[in-house]
């Protein structure tokens, strides 16, 4: 019983068709349509940043030439139509033809070694960029060869004014360019592979000679089609430098500076996690929605780069809605790969997750009623007032339906406490002299949410169930979504095997999701994870405390600190900033900057979905506990984990 949800990494799928079958067009449209349409994906450096599992490599692989070719080969297959449309909108496809010649270079291997050499900075950079360029050129040629384009049908079009230096890359013919790139790669590989780094004087001439194909090449012209019907394609070369965070930070910045230059004509993308950035850069990246604010002499960051943030930031409602769409689409693609489910036509994840409201057992309901009665007596609230609350609750609708008895009782309890708070205590002259508070207590969504959370905290009544809760608990991270969905899908498959209904009850979903959330947190092993865990646990404990308040005035899942304090965090509390950087990078927390509340501007440190699941907090956003950098920093203090 293979569960494709358990292994998302697209690197494991060697076959392009198999890869395309599981790729959803939604992230392509959401993240890349706008810049792609405007041409900003191909004329400047694109900095793509995201957490592990946010889909960076999937996007990169999708833009590789073999994927585009496979997609066009199968464009008549209806399941690919959406993907073809999305890539056309991004400018990667032009009608029935590919427009870009993409190749992905994982920077995990070899490149970091250059920074260990005993050479000057500029020489080290030159050697590294020469290797990147040689491998990119070879990658482009390899992809074209795989698509059946013979080397003599490939020609490079140099940028205007570069015709005279075209000899430095071997000429304009495909074969010559390939030969030169292979010589450069071989020479540089000898340097990397040497047990002892050669002296500068001993470096092979091919390694140090001028070799700048990125500066020279504007287009690649290929002739495709059968003999006699050949047509010419002009392709824009695209070099996708993946996993750039493995480079030394200085190396990373030097490479970025080199790629940002305007005279480069090829399209170039740099993909990295947040780890490589300094805390101030990383936090700025998510709070300002613009990474690397530092600009270089003569370069304006905004004009020279395009930042694509595969991370929760910016318009939150839109993000959440969009992520739900991506997740559902992706889940359908994965379900189709599970014969046990697809044979039964169970290819919509939402169909497997029942969202019918659960109700408490009658004994628990009785206890709840007794608790409400006791609260009414303790607070000295008149029967008439309670009756009013009960009437309001009976009139309250969720999705057009009245609430269940248990939720109704919990809502009345919340309203009783709100009423008591607002009237400033009971009247000295008996309940009949109670004054109506200036702000009447109403049965609204806030009372409903608080009541459900109270039932969760006190009676473990299921709270997390249904496809939307599953999506919202994933912190808008594809990998986390699949990790959570995996356990649900596996349980559904188990039920089918056991001749039970495929649909999971809310209780099962709730229990499985909470347990999985806990397991994922226990499995954290990223840098600073112990301190991140300490921080989020302390924040969550405080949020639970507030949520449990009987009047349910707030159902928080975040801490808020003033924006100005947050902006000063890297200087005022560098350790906290560092911990937060990794918390953000690995989805333990999400930053919500410039959040207006009480006429002040806040930065919310919102708990990630796994923490919310583990501690039983609200998925709904916006509720936060006011705090300060000092209080947050104190949470990292002794006893150290």
């Amino acid at each position: 019983m293979d569960n494709p949800f358990e292994r998302r990494a697209t690197e494991f799928l060697r076959d392009d068709e198999a890869f395309l079958a599981i790729v959803s067009p939604e992230p392509v449209t959401f993240y890349l349509k706008k810049p792609g349409h405007a041409g900003r994906l191909y004329d400047r450096l694109v900095l793509m940043r995201g957490t592990p599992g946010s889909g960076k490599t999937t996007l990169a692989r999708l833009f590789e030439f073999p994927s585009l070719a496979a997609l066009l080969r199968n464009s008549s297959v209806s399941t690919y139509h959406a993907l073809v449309g999305a890539l056309t909108e991004c400018g990667a496809l032009n009608g029935e033809q590919p427009a870009v010649l993409g190749c992905r270079l994982p920077l995990e291997t070899d490149y970091r070694e250059f920074w260990e050499f005993p050479y000057g900075e500029s020489l080290k950079l030159r050697l590294m960029t020469a290797l990147i360029q040689a491998r990119a050129v070879l990658g482009w040629l390899r992809h074209l060869a795989a698509a059946g384009v013979a080397p003599d049908n490939i020609e490079v079009v140099p940028r205007a004014g570069a015709e005279s230096i075209v000899e430095s890359i071997g000429g304009v013919k495909g074969e010559d360019i390939g030969r030169r790139a292979r010589a450069v790669e071989k020479a540089l590989y000898q340097v990397i592979g040497a047990l002892i780094a050669p002296t500068e004087a001993d470096l092979p001439p091919e390694a140090t000679a001028v070799y700048q194909p990125f500066d020279i090449i504007e287009h690649v012209r290929v002739r495709v089609g059968p003999e006699g019907q050949k047509r010419t394609l002009e392709l824009r070369p695209l070099a996708i430098l993946d996993d750039a965070h493995v480079l030394h930070p200085e190396q990373f910045h030097a490479l970025q500076r080199w790629l940002i230059r305007r005279e480069l004509r090829i399209a170039r993308w740099m993909i990295a996690r947040f780890d490589v950035l300094l805390p101030q850069e990383a936090l700025a990246a998510v709070t300002k929605d613009l990474s690397d604010a530092a600009s270089y002499p003569g370069l304006s960051q905004e004009r020279e780069t395009e930042v694509v943030l595969l991370q929760s930031s910016g318009p939150r409602r839109e993000n959440r809605t969009n992520f739900r769409r991506i997740a559902k689409d992706m889940a359908g693609r994965y379900l189709r790969r599970m014969p046990l489910l697809s044979a039964r036509d169970l290819v919509v994840l939402g169909d497997l997750l029942s969202d019918e409201d659960p109700t408490l057992a009658s004994s628990k309901c009785r206890r709840l009623r007794e608790m409400v009665d006791a609260a009414q007596r303790r607070l000295n609230v008149a029967d008439s007032s309670r009756e009013t609350f009960e009437r309001k609750v009976a009139e309250f609708r969720v999705g057009g339906r009245p609430v269940d008895e248990d939720v109704g009782l919990a809502m009345v309890a919340v309203m009783l406490h709100r009423y008591d708070k607002r009237r400033r205590g009971p009247s000295l002259f008996g309940t009949e002299y109670d004054q109506e508070p200036s702000q009447p207590v109403s049965a609204n969504s806030s009372v409903y949410e608080a009541a459900r959370l109270h039932l969760l905290q006190r009676f473990d009544r299921p709270f997390y169930y249904g496809i939307d809760d599953l999506c919202d608990a994933s912190s808008e991270n594809v990998e986390q979504f699949l990790q959570l969905a995996a356990i649900l899908v596996e349980t559904s498959a188990t039920q089918i095997i056991r001749s039970k209904p495929a649909s999971l009850t809310p209780t099962t979903q709730h229990q499985l999701l909470r347990k999985r959330g806990e397991q994922i947190i226990e499995g954290w092993n990223f840098p600073q994870h112990l301190l991140v865990r300490r921080l989020v646990t302390a924040i969550a404990a405080r949020c639970v405390e507030v949520t449990e308040q009987p009047n349910g005035w707030l159902t928080p899942n975040a801490f808020g600190i003033l924006q100005e304090d947050f902006d000063a965090l890297p200087d005022s509390h560098p350790e906290l900033a560092h911990v937060l950087q990794f918390g953000v990078a690995y989805n333990a927390v999400t930053l919500v900057p410039h959040y207006p509340c009480k006429r002040k501007e806040w930065c919310l440190i919102e708990l990630g979905g796994m923490v919310v699941l583990k501690h039983g907090l609200a998925l709904k956003r916006g509720g936060f506990v006011e705090s300060t950098p000092q209080a947050l920093a104190a949470m990292l203090e002794d006893p150290r984990p």
Binding site: M1, L340, T494, Q495, I497, R498
Partner: protein, 373 residues
């Protein structure tokens, strides 16, 4: 059979809830694919999960089924082809080469670490390697895997694929050796007797009370050498007999060496010859705590007792003792090898009996192919 169907049945037999079913299905799926389905006696449509369901069904109560399943889940050791082949591949570098290097270094009077740097010593090592014979004691010795793993190091003329060798074969082997070394005086210096598994040591060497004599594969090899009259002509005076098993129990390691010492003493006392220099070696020795015992597996041993049919006690089985509940020689092993289950393993795992004469019928989890019927 439909895998999902049988998993569903298993879940019913074991009365698992959804949560436990999910966990167990994942384990069963993984272990079937990675290991158990490769058992050579399983057939398409009746592999591990099917056999497990059938095996568990013979226990009428849930408590017994849980004990049986728990035993398979936690204690059963299954040696897959990959693991056994790994032990075969380690045989040459870890045992053969090491032993030859010791001798070459000693004869050349150089420290062992200098062996390869000393041309004379290295040449002597090469000569000793050619003067070595590898003889399989049973078809489990995987001599084909050994040969392929050491192609280029060991020639085909050094490997004998039959445990009994007649005079003509001995002469052929010697002639090949002398031709290869271009030395008409060359003789064998090492003989490796190789087998896959030794559990009780009985097959290798045993005292037969009724016949009042020693018997076993080592005895037979001695008799063959004597009978062919090659001891003085085909072997160097200081030749060494090496007995290697890829896998052994702790008990077998001790027993084999004790019995060899016993035979040597007894025959010397009686004025008879026996191998002068014998070395035992093992690819891996299962620990002393490996056999199932009352203290740790009391519940499972109750099943072994209650579901035993003594019809499996054949004359061959009785060589290891009267009772075969705990397997041949009362070894009580929770062990299955991919090509066959050793008869030293607990009988409840492998025995297949019709249940006649009022005896309980035993259904196997890993059906065993009997060598002696």
């Amino acid at each position: 059979m439909n895998q999902e169907f049988i998993l569903g049945k298993l879940s019913e037999i074991m009365k698992w809830g959804t949560d436990q079913s999910r966990r167990e299905f994942a384990w069963l799926d993984l272990m079937s694919k990675m290991k158990y389905d490769g058992y050579q006696d399983f057939r398409a449509g009746a592999r591990f999960v099917e056999s497990l369901a059938d095996w568990l069904q013979q226990f009428p109560t849930l408590a017994e089924r849980e004990t049986a399943y728990g035993f398979v889940r936690k204690y059963l050791v299954y040696v897959s082809p990959g693991e056994m082949n790994h032990l075969v591949e380690l045989f040459f570098p870890e045992t053969v080469q090491w032993r030859l290097m010791q001798k070459a270094a000693a004869q050349s009077d150089v420290p062992i670490y200098r062996l390869w740097a000393n041309t004379k010593a290295a040449a002597l090592y090469d000569r000793l390697l050619r003067q070595t014979l590898f003889i399989e004691l049973s078809d489990g010795a995987r001599i084909d895997v050994f040969r392929r793993a050491n192609a280029g190091l060991v020639s085909n003329e050094q490997v004998v694929t039959a445990p009994r060798i007649n005079k003509a074969k001995w002469d052929d082997l010697l002639k090949d050796l002398q031709d290869d070394l271009k030395d008409p005086e060359a003789q064998f210096a090492f003989v490796f007797l190789v087998d896959d598994f030794i559990a009780s040591g009985t097959t290798l060497l045993r005292w037969e009370k009724d016949k009042n004599r020693w018997n076993g594969k080592m005895l037979r090899f001695w008799d063959d050498v004597e009978e062919a009259g090659v001891a003085g002509t085909h072997f160097e005076p200081t030749w060494v007999l090496c007995v290697h098993h890829y896998l052994a129990t702790h008990r077998a390691r001790e027993t084999a060496e004790q019995r060899h010492a016993g035979v040597l003493k007894e025959r010397r006392d009686a004025g008879q010859d026996w191998f002068e220099r014998v070395k035992f070696s093992y690819g891996m020795v299962l620990p002393e705590s490996f056999p199932v015992d009352q203290a740790h597996h009391g519940e499972f041993l109750k099943l072994v007792e209650n579901y035993y049919d003594d019809v499996i006690e054949t004359k061959h089985m009785k060589l290891g003792g009267e009772d075969a509940r705990l397997g041949f020689g009362k070894c009580a092993l929770p062990l299955v090898l991919e090509h066959n289950t050793p008869n030293n393993s607990l009988s409840l795992l492998w025995a297949d009996t019709p249940g006649e004469k009022g005896k309980h019928s035993m259904r196997p989890l890993f059906r065993r192919r009997q060598r002696h019927t």
